[in-house]
């Protein structure tokens, strides 16, 4: 990561804080209550952006893994690892906020009969196993390549999990975005967009901070070894 990229983090963090604050005010106070689901629908403004961000992070991790295998540049290994780590954190948040919403709307924390829930859980557990693979191998090019291949396999699950919500037959899980556009009012859609932007920016800032920390850690380790 370049010095200028690290310097931009405080500004981006401030922007994230501002956007998050705006999203909270819009989602909890300004936007009108949903006629069908009532107040529990307000979970949508945090749950869906977090789920989309988790997909994005897993996709970014797979893209960086592809770059590592393609170009052989070592830095992509750490970038792929950090992106998947972020994806796993946001995946866990998706499952938690989704379960809370399910309890509020359906009266159940989890439904094993729902393919879209189970598929997201499979995707999440698949990337949890990535860390088991990574930390079972010794640091070096072999670990980087094995982790990259595993991360690339997981990318197949992303469209399957995403489309399952649309292809499900029973449709208990709500489908808000259809071919006819978003099935909500303009103010609701605007709130969703602000929340999505805030969560995506939050993930990006956390990605950059974690990446900078890990690189600094590695540099210090090298420096310690270099000193006689």
């Amino acid at each position: 990561m370049s010095t200028s990229a690290i310097r931009s983090v405080p500004g981006l963090a401030l922007l994230t804080a501002g956007l998050m604050g705006s999203a909270l005010v819009l989602a909890l106070i300004v936007v009108p209550e949903d006629a069908d689901q009532g107040i529990s629908q307000r979970i949508f403004y945090i749950h869906v952006p977090i789920a989309l961000t988790a997909y994005f992070c897993f996709g970014l991790g797979a893209w960086k893994a592809l770059l590592l295998l393609w170009r052989g540049e070592e830095r992509h290994d750490l970038e792929s690892y950090v992106a998947i780590h972020q994806g796993t954190i946001f995946g866990a948040l998706t499952l938690i906020t989704g379960s809370i919403w399910a309890k509020a709307s359906w009266g159940r924390w989890w439904l094993w009969s729902e393919d879209q829930l189970v598929l997201f859980l499979v995707l999440f557990l698949f990337y949890c196993a990535y860390f088991m693979l990574r930390f079972s191998l010794e640091d070096g090019p072999r670990r980087a390549r094995s982790s990259a291949v595993y991360a690339l396999f997981g990318v197949v699950l992303i469209p399957v999990s995403f489309l399952a919500i649309r292809l499900a037959e029973d449709l208990i899980h709500p489908t808000v975005f259809t071919r006819d556009g978003p099935q909500m009012s303009g103010s609701m859609f605007a709130t969703f967009c602000v929340a999505w932007g805030a969560v995506t920016l939050l993930a990006y800032v956390l990605y950059r901070v974690e990446l900078a920390g890990k690189r600094l850690d590695a540099d210090l380790r090298d420096l310690r070894e270099a000193l006689p």
């Binding site: 909890l28 906020t97 901070v209």
Partner: protein, 64 residues
Amino acid sequence: MSQGQYVAAAYGVVFAFVLVYVAIIAAKLVRLQRETAELLELVRRKDAAARRDPAPVVEARSEA
């Protein structure tokens, strides 16, 4: 639990996550700061030792 409490719980979980993440990053920064200070101290001690006992200058001799 009321519907409003479920909403508060969902947003609270995300807020707690951000707080925990910041705490972890802060702890990591403290560790990195300590390691940097240790390395700096090590370099300073080596530098001071080198000034006290300068290494003898070995003159190159021609074998011819």
